[in-house]
């Protein structure tokens, strides 16, 4: 996902204006506090001092000393004391060089931090327990010159623990790329609010950082495990087409021959049969009719114990795996679940968008008290349930309490009904080992 920024430089103009405003304010304050009867040199010194104080105040917002910088500053003070005590001229020069190193570090690093603009380039979705790469496109501003040793990291409240991305060199008026990886340990939504561009170039003594507001959301789908046994049955042939279905792993079979029509691909002409006829004939293939699968997920927690939460998460992973497998097998999949605090019923469909929709909803499943399993089942229309397989995944153990009337209604309308909950989850579902280990920890 790319978040476009308005202007190159990410607000560096605003920063500059603010900095100059502080400097000007400092100068004015210096002029005001200057003694009334003072000479012009004293006044000038007051104004310059005020401006300097303003500049330092601005710099203090973005620049701070590193540990090495504090040690270096202490060493500089020692050198200064030695120089004053001994009167050795070269020590004065060395003290000046050390002060200059600190000063130029602050100026350069701040200038680089301001000059470089960053655009986050990361996917919108990722999977729990799988590494996802987050990229950053760094751009040096037109007047900033080359930027060196730049680090980009996520900041702001609730920022994920993402290792910082490093970029050694951003050429002047050019682009460079930096990337980092993270492995989300939990499903859900990761909100990326801010980016911090930091650099301690040239000497690592001063650390300049600048925060950029760039909002993005990374949806973490539940980890995908493995279904044991065949929860899903084969489909039936419904339509015929001159070409097999696009989806790989389908069960397309030969259906029959028919005469060639304009627009048919020559690839599917049955040449051997056509040889004895006056016009070519073409093969037709049967394509399995997609069946409908309803996944009903109950995630209400009876208590907030770790075991309950683990059971719920496992049920969610089972639902996600079932949805993905079903879609891959050609099913039209719908779901009823509680996501983002409300009961969500997603009508059955196939295709990639449905997969995103369902898994996004699974990523947003939370603990709730609003909508229970009977209510969710009641929201399913009869027309949707016709010829459908219904799988109720119970993460809370409340399916046992379902009324027989509800179950019989379901059985009457749907083709098959499966209720997976409690210990049965382990019989039909093998969890992702990495995620299971992480949750166990």
């Amino acid at each position: 996902m790319q978040i476009a920024l308005g202007r190159h430089g990410n607000g560096s103009l605003g920063l500059r204006v603010r900095a100059w405003a502080w400097v000007a304010a400092g100068a004015v304050a210096g002029a005001l506090v200057a003694p009334a009867h003072a000479g012009w040199m004293v006044r000038l010194a007051c104004v310059a001092g005020g401006a300097l104080a303003g500049a330092l105040w601005v710099a203090a917002g973005t620049v701070r000393l590193t540990v090495a910088g504090w040690i270096f500053l202490g060493a500089s003070v020692l050198v200064a004391a030695t120089a004053i005590n001994s009167g050795l001229p070269l020590l004065f020069a060395m003290f000046g060089c050390m002060l200059g190193a600190l000063h130029v570090s602050a100026v350069l690093s701040r200038r680089m931090a301001i000059a470089v603009g960053v655009r986050r380039d990361c996917p919108a979705r990722c999977r729990q327990g799988r590494a996802v790469a987050v990229g950053y496109v760094l751009r040096s501003g037109p007047r900033g010159g080359a930027c060196l040793s730049v680090r980009v990291e996520e900041s702001g409240r609730g920022a994920p623990e993402l290792p910082p991305a490093h970029c050694g060199y951003v050429p002047a008026r050019g682009e460079a790329f930096a990337r980092t990886e993270m492995t989300p340990s939990r499903r859900g939504r990761i909100h990326l609010e801010r980016l911090a561009v930091t650099t301690s170039f040239p000497f690592g003594l001063v650390f300049a950082s600048r925060e950029l507001r760039q909002e993005a959301t990374l949806v973490v789908w539940p980890a995908r495990g493995r279904l044991i046994g065949s929860l899903l049955q084969k489909g039936e042939a419904l339509v015929a087409s001159p070409s097999p279905s696009v989806r790989a792993g389908g069960q397309d079979e030969f259906y029959g021959l028919r005469e060639y029509r304009l627009g048919d691909s020559a690839r599917w002409i049955h040449w051997r049969r056509s040889a004895g006829r006056r016009e070519p004939v073409i093969r037709e293939m049967s394509r399995p009719r997609p069946r409908t699968l309803w996944v009903v997920l109950e995630t209400h927690l009876p208590d907030s114990s770790a075991a309950s939460i683990g059971r719920r998460e496992r049920a969610i992973r089972l639902a996600g795996t079932l949805i993905e497998d079903s879609l891959a097998a050609g099913y039209r999949v719908g779901a009823a679940l509680v996501s983002a605090g409300r009961c969500v019923v997603i009508a059955p469909a196939d295709r990639r968008a449905q997969r995103h929709r369902l898994l996004d909803a699974l990523a947003g499943v939370e603990d709730h008290t609003t909508c229970h399993l009977p209510e969710m089942l009641g929201r399913l229309r009869q027309t949707w349930l016709r010829h459908a397989h219904v799988v109720i995944i119970d993460g809370s153990g409340s399916a046992d309490a379902l009324a027989e009337e509800t179950l019989s209604r379901l059985r009457r309308h749907c083709r098959s009904l499966s209720i997976i909950g409690g210990d049965r989850v382990a019989e039909v579902f093998e969890d992702d080992p990495g995620v299971a280990r992480a949750e166990g920890d």
Binding site: W40, M41, A68, V79, A80, T82, A83, I84, N85, S86, G87, L88, P89, L90, L91, F92, A93, M94, F95, G96, C97, L99, G100, A101, H103, V104, V107, L108, R139, P142, R143, G145, A146, L148, S149, V150, R151, P164, A165, H166, C167, G168, Y169, P171, A172, R173, G174, E175, A176, F177, A178, R179, T180, E181, S200, F201, P202, F203, G204
Partner: protein
């Protein structure tokens, strides 16, 4: 010793550059310390280690020793240096420097990560700091400049390397790095290096100029300089040693002459700057009295002082403790050093602390015909030399005989006097002897033929007949004393070169000189120089030797300026600089105020009376120039702006008019352009659906392709023909 190749990440991230930069820094630091302590052993050891590592790094290989070996080495080094320090009187700073050098060397043989490089750099900085506390030489400072460069580069390269390494560790396939990988940013680092070093030097200069100097105290006493090699600057003058002397061109002293009113007197001819005087010649040697008596002469009267010439002297500290001035110097003062006065108006300078900067003092000297009061003062502070002092003189009979032969006439005129010395005849005798000496002997610095077993003066006069100034002066003094003339040998410098640009006398080491002074009651001590003229000419030589001499001369000139102007910069100089800047700023402000007032009144006059004053003309001319410059700058910026935004994508070129017209025509008749369709596909569709003539349409589209994609230029006729085709298509469709 294990040798391990760099990893792929290290190779790609430019570790070799970092390692080489760090090694250069380490080497420069150890060389600086060696220069400061005047010992090459540790620097040589360090250089070997650095060269080994540099060769290894050049081949992308790291040499490292086992950790146990390194730890053992560190312990051994610590123990050895501690034992050495305890058993000798070595300076603790030197011992610590040796320790840091060896630890640094051990560190080089460790398996290095970025942290280790930082530690090595920090140790090199400590070494340089220790060196700066031991030496203030120009060469040390120049090496320090090189160290600053290499340290800055190494630190910056280290930062970039760390960043690149971290970036590469995120990459999965190092062999197939994406287009974003740009490799080592050498030019960018070098560009920043210039900025960084200039800023550091500027800050250093500012701090150096502004920082207040303390009074010192607690510092070790002055290291006795090796002034003995400065050509006669010694407590004794020893003759008769077979040797060859070399007198360098090194500048050792500068002197400005000022009149009593403070004006610069400019060149004043040949000046004999006396440092020491000797009366006793024994065993080919001139000696000062065993106990020199410190003298506290009364302050000269104001009218005597007001007629003195001020000699403002800056000299190298290696000449201490002597003070040099033309005789008689009635007062010597200095803010840096303590001045002590001895008999015969000799002065010693005693620094209160370690002093590496140049020594500055002012001598007030009586010149020209002395006033009666000045003569009286001199008689009071310098007693007349007694005739009995010459009684114990041991002179070779041959020398005395020769002197008498040369001065038969002056001696005859002096005969019969009770006190044969201190008359004008003595001066005539001395001058006669000097002229004869110049005729008889020649000047040379090659005294390898001198016989140490013979009396040096006798050997000089009767066998060698050649020698340098000390021989000539000694022979003259001894001969004078043999003839009962009160004479003494004086050593010091003969200032003859006046630097018109600097406005001062420049005295070099080769200007060290010895001469004779003869006393008469009427004139006091008078200089009589027996050394032949021409000895001040620079050594002859050609080709490379001359260039070498000239380069050495320049170097010594810089060295003196370094000591005089930089190392000698003190609180007084700082105050002078501050007052100079304040005066300049005040002068500038006054000038601005005057100019503003002149412009104001000029404008008033212009509006009131219609007169144009010169100030108004200048004002408007200046305004026009500034405005023109700003306008020119804005125009330049305007032209440069596209280049600055070069990274932005260039906008698509505008399609030619005939093609736009064709699209309008087709759109009017229901055939809009689909972005997914190429112009040729559009043309084919138009031919099929609208029955447009295919030939004309094909020509129009082909021309568009040529202009748009092939960067080809179309002639005016072709464009005109295409427009006609489009017009015809429009007519056909309308019909």
């Amino acid at each position: 010793m294990p040798v391990e190749p760099f990893s792929a990440i290290d190779v790609r991230s430019g570790r070799r550059r970092v390692e080489l930069a760090v090694l250069v820094t380490v080497f420069v630091a150890s060389a600086m310390f060696a220069l400061a302590e005047r010992q090459l052993l540790f620097a040589a050891i360090c250089a070997i280690g650095v060269i080994v590592h540099a060769l290894a790094a050049w081949r992308h290989v790291e040499i490292h020793a086992h950790r146990m070996v390194l730890n053992g080495s560190v312990l051994v080094v610590s123990a050895v240096l501690l034992a050495r320090y305890l058993s000798s009187d070595e300076d603790i700073l030197i011992s610590l420097g040796h320790y840091v050098t060896l630890i640094q060397l051990c560190k080089l043989f460790e398996r290095k990560k970025s942290r280790d490089y930082v530690q090595v750099l920090v140790m090199s900085l400590l070494l340089v700091l220790a060196g700066a506390m031991k030496s203030q030489d120009l060469l040390f400072a120049l090496l320090g400049l090189g160290y600053l460069l290499s340290l800055s580069y190494a630190a910056m390269a280290l930062m970039v390397w760390r960043s690149l390494t971290a970036a590469l560790q995120q990459e999965t396939f190092l062999a197939r790095l994406g287009p974003g990988w740009r490799g080592w940013p050498g030019r960018a680092v070098l560009g920043r290096l210039g900025v960084v070093v200039i800023a550091m030097i500027a800050t250093a200069v500012a701090v150096f100029l502004v920082a207040p100097r303390g009074a010192g105290g607690g510092a070790p006493p002055l290291r006795v300089p090796s002034a003995r090699g400065a050509g006669g600057m010694a407590d004794t003058v020893r003759l008769g040693e077979p040797k060859s002397l070399y007198l360098s061109d090194r500048i050792v002293l500068r002197m400005v002459l000022r009149s009593p009113g403070g004006e610069d007197l400019g060149p004043s001819g040949l000046l004999y700057l006396r440092g020491r005087s000797f009366h006793d010649y024994v065993d080919s040697r001139w000696r000062t009295p065993v106990r020199r008596r410190q003298h506290f002469p009364p302050q000269p009267l104001a009218d005597v002082l007001n007629r003195t010439v001020r000699q403002e002297v800056q000299m190298l500290p290696s000449l201490l403790p002597m003070a040099f001035a033309t005789y008689p110097a009635v007062a010597v003062s200095s803010s840096q050093v303590v001045v002590r006065t001895f008999d015969d108006l000799e002065y010693d300078l005693k620094p209160p602390q370690l002093l590496d900067s140049s020594v500055r003092y002012t001598a007030r000297v009586l010149t020209g015909p002395l006033s009666p009061r000045a003569r009286a003062y001199l008689r009071a502070v310098t007693p007349r030399p007694r005739y009995e002092d010459l009684a114990g003189l041991e002179v070779s009979p041959r020398v005395e005989l020769l002197a008498r032969q040369w001065c038969a006439d002056p001696l005859r005129s002096r005969r019969g006097r009770q006190d044969p010395g201190a008359g004008p005849q003595d001066l005539a005798i001395a001058r006669r002897l000097a002229s004869r000496l110049k005729q008889r002997c020649r000047y040379t610095l090659d005294l390898t033929g001198a016989d140490p077993d013979r009396d040096a003066v006798d050997d000089f006069l009767f066998r060698l007949r050649a020698g340098h100034c000390e021989y000539f002066a000694s022979a003259l003094t001894v001969m004078c004393q043999a003839l009962d003339v009160r004479a003494r040998l004086s050593t010091g410098f003969c200032a003859h070169a006046y630097d018109a640009e600097a406005g001062c006398y420049v005295v070099r080491q080769r200007d060290a000189h010895a001469w004779t002074e003869v006393y008469t009651d009427q004139t006091g001590w008078v200089v009589v120089d027996a050394t032949p003229s021409g000895r001040f000419s620079p050594p002859a030589g050609g080709g490379l030797g001359r260039w070498w001499t000239r380069a050495r001369d320049v170097w010594w000139r810089w060295e003196f300026s370094w000591h005089a102007e930089v190392i000698g910069y003190d609180n007084q100089a700082r105050r002078q600089l501050g007052s100079w800047m304040r005066n300049r700023a005040a002068g500038g402000w006054q000038a601005v105020k005057r100019a503003a007032l002149a412009v104001f009144w000029g404008l008033v006059e212009l509006f009131a009376r219609g007169r144009i004053s010169e100030a108004v003309v200048w004002f408007f001319g200046g305004m026009a120039a500034v405005t023109g410059a700003i306008a020119a700058g804005l125009i330049l910026l305007r032209f440069r702006r596209p280049a600055r935004r070069g990274w932005r994508a260039a906008p698509a070129p505008k399609p030619p008019a005939f093609f736009v017209h064709l699209l309008h025509v087709l759109h009017r008749h229901g055939l809009g352009r689909d972005p997914s369709r190429t112009p040729r596909e559009l043309a084919r569709q138009a031919v099929e659906q609208l029955h447009v003539p295919a030939g004309a349409l094909d020509e129009v589209v082909s021309l568009y392709y040529r202009i748009r994609w092939s960067r080809g230029s179309a002639s005016a006729e072709e464009i005109r023909a295409a427009e006609q085709h489009v017009r015809r298509i429009g007519e056909i469709l309308s019909a």
